[in-house]
Symmetry: C2
Subunit: 786 residues, 2 copies
């Protein structure tokens, strides 16, 4: 069904294929074959329609609220892909007739989706159909598709209905008011719509070109309009062996686009602007537009490509699959937006941004595309005012980042979730209220960005303020416990979401402490400089006053300590006293969260079971704060109690398994993590890609086996390849310098790569800690038998 | 594809069948196989889903406005029909595998939809599947469905997902805010929703019962919820030859239901009320519920059934098909609502009420179900205030009925329609502004009701006020033409919608004149009685003043007169001067409005071509105002210029062909009219049934060949059978008395039927004009060689 071997050996490691059609698995391939460019994301629905398909086209940041009682979500834009193809009047449809050959493949190298089919209608006539599709990496608004149809056995009348369909919804929620439907110059369609609450205009435009044997035909398609739809019907006769092809170039523009400055100053309306741009593009023709796009992908792979020499080709493919999806999910063009938990590939999580971005995805960009990392770090500054409002609304000070974030930074978590099978009533979703560690995670992301890039300008403009406002939130959030004479944090959810309403979750307390400590450190440093950044922030935030509070409180935050004997750190106040049950039945299940079929959430609260890495994440984020022994003891205790029912979990555990030198387990977990979306579970990603898991594939490979970490401005490399790998080579940006790291079984090579970006940077020596020993890098460093 | 012969000879003339499945024609069968009871209408979508299906469930009168810029429409309620059936994991789907036998049929006699299939999956396993479905005629809120599955060749795991799906939209427009989704007692589902603007609550409830070989199973289906969806999954093993069946009883209630009095007085919320009612119904079981329903249909057929002895069985079937659809489209339970132009069978015309009701459908009820006719006549009184507002808004007085009417009586015609193929821009819809004859049509309907029923109480409470307020509208609408010294009516659309912005449309002017004359007559009569009705209306409407104005203006309304020589009455001021072209190419086309492919609406304005009967309708409504010679001359002139591009047209022409004694042409037109929905044009009724055409089938048969007319309180019978018919027997209500009329080639029998309804009515003689000669009827009248 799903294949990883390409037809052409050169494509190996680049191509994922579907080798037989099965409508039960539409959603899986729609998700993993998604295309995009960070501006828009297009699910890989087929041209012909099938019941159960999900035709999604999302534009980053265009959130709308369907009704007051609901949270905002990314609205599903009009569909421009669907084609109604009839061959001698018989609808082309893979569940009818006979399929003589079938192959659909996503070519990661050039972001192309291809489908080649030989199909026989119910009456003996055979046809070859080839479909091509791309979402342009060189022009963010553009997508192109081509269909080539060749009657193989006899002449045929080919009819194709192509249009723009604004009847799409988000599982029934319609976010758009109808705009205009227009037909220009016989072959250009346009449909506009406006989001119902956020009042954003969407303009969908598409141009068509019909060819016979490669020669463009003067076509006079019949126009038609229905509600929210505008369409053209092409009808053409083709001889046997004669190929008819239809190229469709389409675009989306919105009124909030960064490249749209509005209608002032004599500029035309957006619809006209979109039309002019599309016409100019369409003039180039499909082939040229595709070439521009493919070159953009090629440049991207040249600068970011990772090579894995593995006995299993799948490993190489999976890291490219991860990079492909990281590229298409990330709005690198616009810092007002960030990455949704499902990227732009499905309705799941409504396009909202979680801690996933800072903790699981940002590292990839920090070390691979620092320019994009800066955009992601800026996003949290753009939403700082919303976070301030959240804090205020709940009686706190500073900035309280939302568990689910959209455009404003205000809390977007829905209040009610699916039915609880035991009680039969919907579950209240507590995360938006009490999964508060996100606020420290955001501060950590900003600091992590600063450490890895050395981007002082970011810190001055944005980063300090984030760190200080989040620290202020924590200072106001702490609860004094008279008996213990310590500050506690009660009634939270930690990363382990199977434990709701716990107190002193270790992850939360440590990260809050880190956040306050970092604010103290930043403030003291700024005070010393006394520069204008300090002056501005002092005026705005009254740093002196805050500093006093931070220092007083930081000293007395309760930080759960390792038990003297067992070295165990309690995950929260009660975890270690809970019942221990046999979890074997629920581990390693294809069905995620299978335990919920047997236990309600309330019952899970009484069992030592974790949905995902919780305390263990600390050992990665704050690695120097814990001894090797403490890490090992807690790893061995908590790992078996973790079900990995969150896609965020496996990659963290894989990486930590490297830290405790269990490379077999690390590789096993990497392999599993790499298959969350790409594996043979045919429904795991129906709702969209697991964005954090995709980031985690890279983390497990590069931060785990590649051993890339940093701590307080120092780059560390602790590479250790799993048995299956012979070689791992990857680009690594560190404080503005691009390195290339190549690890083999007995050698580590670190090269400094000259590039335009590096041309200006001085060639001062760079210090790197490799397996604990300091090295100085100038141009190249070769270490044998590390 | 479509069959009219039943398998069982006894069913002939009662059953319409689909004998092979073709997904291209889903919409046709969804429409003609629709079920309902006037409270709700259910399109006949199949249990399994196909791309392109339209799952519609409408509840009469529940209008909602999606957005301010749009008009109100009937929202598409949640789907409760769809079942996801898997047999050994393979989805049941008729486009895959092999169909060994297939038959779907609508049984008009008992309102049952049946589907029997023997299907082989792709792997050699065969299954028998039988589906049954009804929308209860005895409990307006209820529908029932049954699926029976029998593995024929080997044991099988059968899984069925059944639920309530609130993701439905009206072509993308979502009218509902989400309410609650609940699961009770493991097998009872409930989903509530509220219309977004009109704030009506919908409660959908469904109960399930699973059987093996007829014995109910203790089933523990798995519950699941998605956005706007709640579902159960049944899984059961069946041996070869063993039948598993699932019965699903479902209901819809809304907060505007006439049988719902709200939550006051200790009554439970609507959802609980609905649940209690459904549980009580479900306890009876599918078979009993179906029996109750079938008996209700039986009683209906006994009192309204029409027999046609014809050489073509189709004629008998078609009149029953018409009566079936008239029964399911008409909200006989509630006079706040009337009949949509597509009944309750599709999104077309948004559920709005047109002149179709008074002129094309009301006659059926007047003469067949006068109780229901009264409801329809009352509807226009409930919307009188809206009509007053329309008049006021446009600077007129009195009541101006809307061209498209919903709940309030305010104008609901959308402003913009589909693209004009010549100019490429959308067409402005003028009907809502200037197709004003509707106001006289409504008055005519009220008067017609009164004449046919003698229902003085209706006239006193409602009818007079409608006649007077509409007359007042016309008085204010008339425009004085100084030159001609006459009142003109300029810039209107008559029934012939291919002529926009015409002046002195004969139909409009004559009907306006009739309206004012009728108001004068009613007022004078009331004055003579001086009763409390008069007092009330005089106080409310200042009748004396109005009377003066009516009398002054009525004398001077311009009524186009027959030309002395040709006897032609001009359809409007310019029609007879327009260009005459050869219309042969556009007549008798399957494709309705084929002329619009060659001519724009603007160009049509310059040609003597009519979309539909215009002036000719006058010869039926005001038949005594025109001489036989004038009728004949105009018939012969206008008929060949009429394209019948409206489904309202053919039946009127058929009936008038009878009047000019051209029985062959009348029969030909009847046959065509009867096939508008039921014929072999596989797309004519995709958007829903043609309600007026359905009424027209009855009109052509009973008012045409049966010759039933009335004029000012006198019943007339002018029967004349076409060659194809040997016999026509039909019930006929006249002023509270039920008659049975039987026409054969050489005899007419009119019987007075004793019934409970007639028991109280005195047995005074009744006068009937038969072929122009007066007869007195006491019990029975037999006329030979008429």
């Amino acid at each position: 069904m799903i294949g990883y071997k390409a037809k052409d050996a050169l494509q190996n490691g680049w191509v994922i294929s579907e080798t037989a059609f099965d409508a039960r698995y539409l959603a899986k391939f729609e998700t993993i074959f998604s295309q995009g460019n960070g501006y828009m994301g297009l699910r890989a629905a087929t041209e012909e329609s099938y019941a159960g398909e999900r035709r999604n086209l999302f534009v980053a940041g265009t959130f709308n609220r369907f009704a007051n009682q609901e949270v905002t979500e990314l609205p599903n834009a009009a569909d421009m892909l669907q084609l109604d193809i009839r061959l001698n009047g018989i609808p082309f449809h893979l569940e009818k007739g006979m399929i003589h050959s079938y192959r659909r493949e996503l070519d990661l190298r050039q972001g192309e989706l291809r489908r080649d089919i030989v199909w026989e209608d119910g009456q003996g006539a055979q046809f070859k159909l080839c479909f091509r599709r791309f979402v342009s990496m060189s022009n963010l608004h553009l997508l192109g598709m081509r269909v080539e149809i060749t009657p193989l056995t006899q002449p045929a009348e080919i009819s194709i209905v192509s249009g723009i369909n604004g009847q799409m919804t988000n599982s029934g929620a319609q976010h758009f008011l109808e705009g205009e439907r227009r037909i220009f110059e016989k072959e250009l369609l346009q449909l506009t719509a406006v989001t119902s609450q956020s009042n954003m205009e969407f303009v969908h435009t598409s141009a068509h070109q019909l060819y016979r044997r490669g020669t463009r035909l003067q076509a006079y398609p019949s126009p038609s309009m229905e509600r929210r739809k505008v369409r053209l019907t092409y009808r053409v006769q083709a001889d046997a062996g004669e190929t008819i092809s239809l190229d469709k170039i389409a675009s989306v523009h919105t009124s909030i686009d960064a490249d749209w400055t509005g209608e002032q100053n004599g500029r035309p309306p957006l619809a006209e602007f979109a039309r002019d741009n599309l016409l100019a593009a369409a003039c180039k023709g499909y082939d040229q537009l595709f070439e521009d796009h493919a070159q953009a992908w090629q440049r991207r792979w040249e600068s970011t490509g990772i090579e894995i020499g593995s006995s299993d080709d799948f490993d190489q493919l999976s890291i490219r699959f991860a990079q492909y999806h990281l590229a298409i999910m990330t709005p690198a063009h616009d810092s007002r937006f960030s990455i949704g938990a499902k990227g732009l590939t499905g309705e799941g999580y409504k396009g909202h941004v979680f801690w996933d971005t800072e903790i699981f995805i940002l590292p990839y960009f920090l070390y691979t595309e620092p320019g994009t990392a800066r955009k992601l770090a800026e996003y949290r500054y753009h939403t700082l005012n919303g976070a301030r409002k959240n804090a205020l609304d709940r009686g706190y000070r500073g900035a309280m980042y939302p568990w689910e974030s959209a455009v404003t930074g205000e809390e977007e978590t829905p209040e009610w979730g699916p039915v609880d099978v035991v009680t039969g009533t919907p579950t209240y979703i507590w995360t938006g209220k009490i999964e508060q560690h996100i606020t420290a995670d955001v501060a950590y992301g900003a600091w992590h960005y600063y450490q890895a890039t050395g981007d002082q300008e970011y810190m001055d403009r944005y980063g300090y303020e984030i760190v200080m406002e989040t620290a202020t939130f924590w200072a106001s959030r702490l609860e004094w416990n008279e008996e213990k004479q310590r500050y506690h944090i009660t009634d939270v959810i930690g990363p382990d979401e199977y434990k709701e309403h716990v107190s002193n979750n270790a992850y939360t307390n440590y990260m809050a402490y880190w956040n306050i400590k970092k604010a103290i450190e930043c403030t003291r440093r700024l005070m010393q400089t006394g520069n204008e950044v300090y002056t501005r922030l002092e005026q705005k935030l009254s740093l002196n006053e805050r500093l006093k509070e931070w220092e007083e409180k930081a000293q007395r935050i309760y930080l759960p300590q390792p038990d003297a004997e067992s070295l165990l750190i309690p995950q929260d106040d009660t975890y270690l006293e809970l019942q221990v049950i046999d979890l074997e039945k629920y581990r390693n299940q294809e069905q995620v969260a299978s335990i919920l079929a047997d236990y309600s959430m309330t019952q899970l609260s009484d069992i030592q079971v974790s949905k995902q890495a919780d305390i263990l994440v600390l050992f990665y984020l704050l690695e120097d704060w814990f001894s090797k022994e403490v890490k090992a003891a807690n790893w061995h205790y908590y790992e078996p109690k973790t079900l990995h029912d969150s896609s965020l979990s496996l990659s963290t555990h894989s990486l930590l398994a490297c830290d405790v030198h269990d490379l077999d387990l690390a590789y096993e977990m990497f392999a599993k993590a790499a298959r969350i979306d790409l594996g043979t579970n045919m429904h795991s990603c129906d709702e969209g890609i697991h964005a954090a898991s995709i980031g985690g594939i890279w983390k497990a490979a590069i931060m785990g086996f590649g051993g890339v970490r940093s701590w307080e401005g120092m780059l560390r490399l602790n590479p250790m390849l799993p048995n299956a790998w012979e070689r791992l080579s990857f680009p690594l940006y560190w404080q503005g310098v691009r390195l290339q790291v190549t690890v083999t079984r007995d050698q580590l090579v670190v090269e400094r790569i000259s590039s335009e970006a590096n041309a200006g940077s001085d060639l001062r020596e760079m210090n790197i800690l490799i397996h604990g020993r300091p090295y100085a890098l100038k141009d190249q460093l070769i270490i044998n038998s590390f």
